[in-house]
Amino acid sequence: MEDNKEERSAKRKQQGRFWTWVTASVLFRLILIYFPQNLNLSSRPEVSTPLTSLRRLAEGYWLKQSSMSPYAGSMYHGSPLLLSLLGPLTVKRIDGQPSHLLCSLVFVAADILNSLLIRATGQTLQIAYRQSLKSLDLDMISETMEILPSGDIAALMYLWNPFTIAACVGLSTSPIENLAIMLALYGACKRLVPLAAFGWVMATHLSLYPMILIIPIILLLGNGPDTPRKLFLLRRHGKVEENSSSDSCQQERVFSWSPVMLLILWTIMWSAYVLLLCGVSVKQYGGLWEMFTSMYGFILTVQDLSPNIGVLWYFFAEVFDFFRNFFLIVFHMNILFMIFPLAIRLHHRPCFLAFVYITISSMLKSYPSVGDSALYFGLLGWFVYELSDMKFSFFLFCVYVGVSLLSPVMHNLWIWRGTGNANFYFATAMAYACLQIVLVVESVSAMLNHDRKLRKLSSAKLQDGKS
């Protein structure tokens, strides 16, 4: 009884602490928004890419207001829906307040919403995982898990990540793109099919690359959240051998097709709706085709070669023109090649699979920004417990700090001081890409090791039970 009470008070304390931190992060953001001139974050290449820059969006809105196509002049490359959503906010000024204040507030709200979605999803994941462990008689492990509120950790990691703060204060639209992705994952975890479909359609519409998340979403809807599924099979075999009563095997689920079918239906509906809305808003200016070429064509053909933290700009600035198409295909196939092997290996952990996909696409996408990294760091928080034995964590942390400080210095050396050149900046971009590769490799191997460990423990239990 007393234990219970204490536990509850501890939980409440934890809750209170969480909300304090959330408020603190909001305050911190608001303070930073009021000092925009000193930071000048919105013009940093690390923060705002041609796709996510709010300045470009304002330009597109201005073009649209003067009844020209928003895509004229290759300034704006985002969605027309975003234009009509955020556009009016870019022109509205409040006297005595920093410009773009309203937009900044929208981004702050999106960030908070993101973190709450991450938290809720993380809690769902944790509960599901604990249940499945309990059914495997690995109670003691699930008890350790209780101490690590992975949902809270993930949400706070997202909110307080300097990358997230930079993307939010630096007026890039990536918090909204992240919001769409999070809606999709949240919906899939909570089995809210329409929400999942909406999130996926919006995320794909806004930035194209989240398209590959359809696989984790289908797996989530079909199989439910992350479980060590193989163990159930093992357990069942053990039990069968043991000839005991098999009532505990009901946890084992088969892939259920009905929510997936529903998802496909909803996806079709939502995409038709989004296309309709886009069609209406760009009807006077060349129709949907122009939108497609200047949004997705722009993403896929890497037309803008201004420096960013990705690796493609440098390569396509150097490559001969007649090889360009070939390498475009090669680079984009890179992402696609990795989808299926990973899906096969990690099919029992769809949320982790989504994390891996997001990391890979933010490494190989044509215009990456720190906003993408912010999202996958947040998602990494879901698996604090599973990844607790991850190797090189300290090394990764140090190099992340180093690279994110080095990148502006190199940019300054190249652009403002003129003593460096493009190679200097590209070197940091390469280091950053390598870092993400190491992160993916290490986290996947840590996850697989964790699964192995669980299997070992459970088989040991079985042996014990037998003997």
Partner: protein
Amino acid sequence: MAKTDRDTSKGKPRPIVRLGIFLISHSFFFSVVFSTAGVLALLLLPVLAKNTYISENSLMPGSVAPMLSDQEVAEGNRLIEDLNALKSKPLGSGIGSQRLVAQYMSNLGAEVSFHKFHRQPSQFHPLHFFSSPDSRRIEQNISCALHGVNTIGIIRAPRGDGKEAIVLVTPFNSVKVNKNEALSLGIAYSVFSLLTGVPWLAKDVIWLVADSQFGEYAAVAAWLRDYHTPVFSGVGTLDAEMCPEINNLRGMEENLFTERMTFDGFKRAGTMAAALVIKVGDRTQQYEDSLSIYAEASNGQMPNLDLINTVNYLAVHRQGLRVKVEKLWSLLNMRWLKTLGEMFELLGHYARNINPQLKFGIPAAEYIEGSATLASSLYYQALGIPTGPHGAFRDYQVDAITVEILPKVFTLGNKVRQNDFLLRSGRLIEGVVQSVNNLLEKFHQSFFLYLLTSPSKFVSVGVYMIAFALLVAPLPMVAASLYVNASNSDESMNSEKSSPSATAVDSASSPTTTDAAPLVTLSESTPLLTAADSGSLATVADSASLATAADSSRFATTADCITLSSWKWLYAAKKSFIVYLWGSVVSLLPYFICQIPSCTPTTSFIIWVLLSILGLVVMYGILASPFSDANDSKSQKEWAILKSVTLSAAFIGLCLMSIINFATAEIGGLLMVPMCLMAHPLKLDVKTRSLRTISRAVCNLVLGFIGFPPVTFIVLKGAFEGFSSINVGDFWSWVESLWAWNSATYLYIGVVHLPCWVLCIHILFHHC
């Protein structure tokens, strides 16, 4: 058991991993070797210096044919005489001399304009380095009474398209015309008058007569700022609105001058290819005319080496001037340097005996000269304060140097000597203008990152980086080895714990219940921990520490339990994050302290120190409470992890700084690397009481004392200037000069060096 399992499952690790393991396991040996090699390589740099060469072909300094004749020199003389005459007149007020120069310019047919600027108070821009030069915009409270007037003459090139320009700058004080300054104006004027007539000019020539009454740099910087920020709405409206009472300048002069001189506009002439600041020094030379070159701009930036090469080539080979660069004179008489030079000479001798092809080793005297020059080059780059008005150009990516021409004794009286002097220096300037005029692109061929060991010898970035890399290489190595050791020892501790308890598996249930109590106390202490600044980090950290404590207590029974061992560093990272945060707060404090009126440097310094200590105490007390955290068996190795985090942070900081300003990083590295590497808890050292540990403790104390920035400053200053005139306030004045010039060195001291020092001291006094 688990280890062997892992080994068999993984097989042999990859070669790179094996190399890493090898380095880490012998980290002590390698760190000693590497840091010694780093220091040695630094001392070897004068030997490794290469001769300079002109890398850009289109400069063609060899084909320069000077056309400057006695006629132009006579005109220059006329200007000098007029200026001197003006000085003797009582009415020769500020505007008079400018008007005179402008008159001369316009008589030559050049476009003349005046540029009025206001004196700007020095301001603190801590992040100036990361932003563009234009980002600091018009400051509000300009004192209207204080203003200077620059005079600008522009020759439009007959063959150019007006898109490029060469700038000649002659700083002179309009209030009190100096004889030397008049001489430099004479030189520039004679060149200028020649250039108005030459047919080969392809770039416009701008002659900026900078009004140096508020300092040479300020005038040039103000002109450059206005040159690069076009004002679209009306001309000079800003000035007119701000200071109406001195607007009569314009009206007064309009009646005086001819039509061609238009005063309503800021004249521009395209991008600048190069700039040359011409000065005549007042230190007269005994034997011959000579030339000093000053090149260091802010934050250790240097102009392209080709510009220095061109000036050096023309001065030495054409005009027979002696070229010098700044030296650290006090180094010249150092005994140890002399022995070192002789040693290197001897070594080079042996090397030549073995293989005559080897060109290693230079004479000892040359070595000493080279190291004195190198030391001063390092020093001025490390300060980050420009050594002259040329520094203002570097902010706009224009290569510029200051050429200070030092005349022979008695030149100033003698008419013939003066004419000869004017002719020679005028021809030098003309030659440089001709060479730069030949340029097709902006300077890019030669080096930007180099150190000079003599006017014709340099050490390039590829060579001096080796010394730095060797010096800092031990940091990550030792960090990794400490980290690995700490986690291994914990693992072994775990397994030791588990083996006795595994025998008593049956009784395992009772410890779990008893261990629940410390768990609760720990969780109650978490609000303190979580109140730390880095939210996510802190949460993860304390939950990690919690979990490690928990799983050590509860699940030590199972050998294969899941540990959070790989995240243990989070707590140390949080601690050092707080210290670094404190460091940035400390470096912001002077901004507020200097607002206090009538403060002597000493009192300001004391206030600063007190506030910093207060800040540290408050931060430690409220946020982290690192002195009072629970130290069970787990945190026995806590200092090791903290040290490894400190080392990594120092490594990152030094590497960053080496890119921003190499010289600062090199000097800082020399101070910081030994301090960081040696840091070891005194308590442990004293407990062991062997000779080695005691000497280590003494070393630590000495290094920790010297590593404190004010102490470092005082010790270095005393070593070079003698301890007699040392004052605590000096440090404040020095720091103030650093931040007034927006030097990155200031940030380095505050944000990298100071926190690192605090962490080292914390490790020294760690309770174990």
